[in-house]
Amino acid sequence: MDNISRIQSSIDVLEEFRRAVLESGVVLDEIVSGIHRSRCSGNNIEFLDYRDYVYGDDLRYVDWKLFARSDRFYVRRFDDNKRKKVYLFIDYSRSMDIGEGNSNKFFRAVLLATVVASIFLRFGDDVYLIFNGEIIRLGDAYGNPVIPAMVRVYSQRRFESIDIFSNYDGILEFLPANSVLCLFSDLFSDVQSVVDKIKVVSGSGVYQYIFHILDRSELNPSIRGLRLFIDPDSKEEMIIQADNIWRDYQEVLQEYISRIRDILTSNRSGKYIQCPTNVGLREILLKLFER
């Protein structure tokens, strides 16, 4: 891909993400009208320090007295224990590189992460992106506006043959209590291991949103004949006469999903949202806010 087409592609993705964020805003207005927009009530807020004003900061937090003294805009920062820390964790294993264009699983994962990040930021929460071993704080105030940051993540994608769940519970080491972890993944890893890790995180007090990104062909496969199935991550192979196995497959897949859903709902430690790539954003957001 030459530079011009790469730039054009990035512009397209940017436009797509921007439109998604706008749409999510509309949906959010419909759904949560009447609900207090911020989880910060003003109580238990302790002053922490000042920082320079940047465009977009809420003018309510500008220290006008200091402005009068120094002729510069400073914004007050608070340590707010009601303010959630939200961590977005996007699966970048090879199994996520399924589908073309906007139906690509990884594209959908990043798009959803963008929308979710913008929603949490709108609620005044702190949003962090865990990607490729880095933790990036998102928000204009921190030099990482959401959409450009996510476009960058998508543009610099590099799929690896890894089991992202091998370190999933390791995230707990730096995740503060009462934080929120949003996982964007197809969950196609060792099934028992995935279930165990989700269970561990669930028991630690971290609230998990699991966005299960699935291609249509994974939900309802129509493959026939003798096939050599290859695992994109582990490269394992298996020969199966694929004519009469899909009923069993669907049963097992649903059973797997049910187990994850049960873990999350049993102690109210999270929410499972199935996100097929062919389902619209609005529908997914409705599921997200569904009680």
């Binding site: 699983k105 196609f188 099934v191 291609d215 096939r227 994109p232 298996m238 006469q241 004519d243 897949l253």
Partner: protein
């Protein structure tokens, strides 16, 4: 226990391994497929593999079973039920083929005589083991027990060949004989005495299956090459007004040439003969010109006989010549005219000819030229005849003896003369003043024919003049005008019928002849007049053949032979309430002419030989025996005693049925992959 008809097929048993070999070598190369939900597949892998193994195993098993069943069917597996040693003595059943084919002359003797010699020999050899002998006649499908000491040639010939015999297919008739009254005890032995004559190798195959299944011992009566001449009629060809030629084909259906003669008989009188020389399986056309005796159009009974061959059964062919002329109508024209259309009977004769065609012959004469022999005519029409008294005696006699007369009136009629005649249905007088009437209708429902069965007919017909009538009670008004004047009246007189039409049959007094209703009216009128006359029908038949004749009044029907003797138990009459019925007839076994007399129909049945056994295209005896010998039965001399309930059960049908079920199951399993 199990035995095989064609054990050679058992050598092919290793082919049951073919499905296993196909399974082992027929593994296909799979198509690669990157599949993200691979971990899910891992969870169902064991389940799939277990099912796949079971499926493959079941499929291989079914295919092996299918091949095995087909092989066993080819091998002709059968089950021996019971034990052959269960009895040492019992009655023996001798099934004798007494069909026409064993009545052939072979080597100067009747083949049946050889057959009876063979029976005598068999009885002599086996009188110590057979407690009695039951002889079954295949042609009649009946049986009788006869003590061994009474089995002698002359007695047996009489009993076996008493009738002319019936054509039979051995493989169809043998099972009937075998299943008839074997009973609990069964027979110690069953022996078939036959020439094993069959039309095809397939029939031989079917017969040999039966012989094997029932352990029948076969005594084959060998036949030398024979000549067999028989007749096939081609019909009568008209060669002139009073002449015709009888054409027949003389066919030699045997293997030897035929030298002999063909003769034509009428009654017992020979009226023609011709020598013929025909190679095997060829035919020759023979023509006879029967002497017409000045009147060729009478019915005649012929018999064509060939002489000089080895097979007498089919040597005589009976033929019937039916008079070509049908019903006859005599029109007596009381008012002829030089212009044809002005003639009194012009419209009537045109209508009769148009409707009935050749089946009714119309003769027209003037009133002073009525022939002396009116009985030659079925119907006489007197149209506008001046006086009836001139021919009173002739007409009265004709009507009394069953004749039909239609009297149509007109301007020339002398009413006084007419009223003095006793067969006239009503007193007539010409209507002095009359307003023209429009339309007439049917007043007697029995007059309604197929073309008149509508109430709209005749309503536009305009009648300007007609005769007033006064009718006694014994007359029946059939048609009347709208003004209730009788138009057509009938009266029974002696055995005959007189019809009176009270206006003219031409256009002098009405416009009916130019109406479209005229033709149907005439047709129905004449059909009514013809009804009740005896109809002569004839049919060609074969011995024992079932014939069905519809639309006859068959009550009290009787069958008579040529000598006028009643032939019993041949007729079944199914009569409907309206008098019509269906007569079912079983043809007599003896050839010749038979008549069935019914009130309205005389039926002639001409019984001739069944020709299906006349083409003696049979395989040479050695070949027949080799065909049976291959299966190890006929002529082999091997005797298998048949004990109580001891018979072979043929399993081939069951195997094939089972194979079909297995195949269906295999396809079902295949579809569930």
């Amino acid at each position: 226990m199990f035995d095989f008809l064609n054990p050679v097929f058992l050598y092919a048993l290793p082919i049951v391994l073919i499905p296993v070999i196909i399974h082992l070598f027929g593994i296909k190369r799979p198509i690669s497929q990157v599949f993200a939900p691979y971990p899910i597949l891992l969870l169902i892998k064991s389940r799939i593999i277990k099912r796949k193994r079971l499926h493959s195993f079941l499929l291989i098993l079914l295919r092996i079973l299918l091949i095995l069943l087909i092989l066993l069917s080819f091998a002709g597996v059968y089950l021996r039920v019971g034990t052959t040693e269960s009895r040492s003595k019992g009655k023996c059943l001798l099934i004798v083929d007494n069909s026409p084919s064993v009545r052939v002359m072979s080597g100067g003797r009747l083949l049946g005589e050889y057959l009876i010699e063979e029976i005598e020999r068999y009885v002599k050899e086996n009188s110590s083991t057979c407690e009695g002998f039951v002889i079954h006649r295949l042609s009649e499908q009946d049986r009788f027990e006869i003590p061994s000491e009474e089995i002698k040639s002359d007695t047996l010939i009489k009993r076996l060949f008493s009738s002319s015999g019936r054509y039979i297919q051995l493989y169809e008739e043998l099972p009937l004989a075998l299943k008839q009254g074997v009973g609990e005890e069964g027979f110690y032995r069953i022996v078939l005495f036959s020439d094993l004559y069959s039309h095809s190798v397939q029939n031989i195959s079917a017969l040999s299956e039966l012989i094997r299944a029932y352990n029948v011992e076969v005594r084959h009566i060998r036949l030398n090459p024979v000549s067999n001449a028989y007749i096939e009629q081609r019909g009568f060809e008209r060669t002139g007004d009073n002449e015709y030629t009888l054409i027949v084909d003389v066919i030699n259906g045997g293997e030897s040439p035929f030298y002999g003669s063909t003769s034509l008989f009428e009654g017992d009188e020979k009226i023609g003969s011709e020598s013929v020389n025909i190679p095997p399986h060829s035919k020759k056309e023979v023509r006879f010109m029967p002497d017409g005796n000045g009147n060729s159009d009478r019915e005649r009974f012929f018999k064509v006989v060939v002489e000089g061959d080895d097979f007498d059964y089919d040597n005589t062919e009976y033929l019937y010549y039916k008079s070509q002329k049908g019903r006859k109508v005599l029109l007596v024209n009381g008012e002829p005219a030089s212009i044809e259309t002005k003639s009194e009977t012009f419209f009537l004769s045109s209508a009769i000819r148009s409707y009935f065609g050749d089946s009714v012959q119309v003769y027209t004469v003037l009133e002073d030229m009525i022939p002396e022999t009116p009985e030659l005519y079925d119907v006489i029409v007197l149209s506008n005849v001046n006086r009836l008294s001139y021919n009173l005696e002739l007409l009265s006699k004709y009507i009394r003896s069953g004749g039909r007369v239609l009297i149509t009136l007109g301007g020339r009629v002398d009413t006084q003369d007419y009223n003095g005649v006793d067969f006239i249905p009503c007193n007539i007088s010409l209507a002095s003043e009359m307003k023209p009437e429009e339309g007439f209708e049917i007043s007697d429902s029995s007059f309604r024919g197929e073309v008149l069965d509508t109430s709209n007919l005749f309503k536009k017909v305009r009648i300007q003049r007609m005769f007033d009538v006064i009718c006694p009670q014994d007359s029946k008004v059939i048609l009347k005008t709208r003004g209730d004047r009788p138009l057509l009246i009938s009266k029974r007189y002696g055995d005959g019928l007189v019809y009176l039409y009270t206006t003219s049959i031409d256009m002098d007094m009405n416009d009916l002849p130019i109406r479209k209703d005229y033709l149907p009216f005439v047709a129905t009128l004449f059909k009514n007049m013809f009804s009740g006359l005896i109809t002569k029908r004839f049919v060609y038949s074969r011995p024992y053949e079932d014939i069905s004749i519809n639309g006859v009044n068959c009550k009290d029907a009787k069958m008579l032979n040529i000598r006028g003797e009643v032939v019993e138990n041949r007729l079944i009459c199914n009569l409907m309430p309206d008098g019509s019925g269906t007569l079912n007839i079983r043809s007599p076994e003896t050839f010749g002419f038979y008549t069935v007399n019914m009130p309205d129909t005389e039926l002639l049945i001409v019984v001739n030989a069944d020709k299906r056994e006349s083409e003696l295209i049979r395989l040479p005896s050695e070949q027949i025996e080799s065909l049976y010998n291959r299966k190890g039965y006929a002529g082999s001399g091997g005797i298998t005693p048949l004990g109580p309930g001891n018979r072979n059960v043929n399993l081939i049908e069951f195997l094939l049925l089972f194979a079909a079920v297995v195949l269906a199951f295999e396809m079902f399993v295949m579809n569930r992959r």
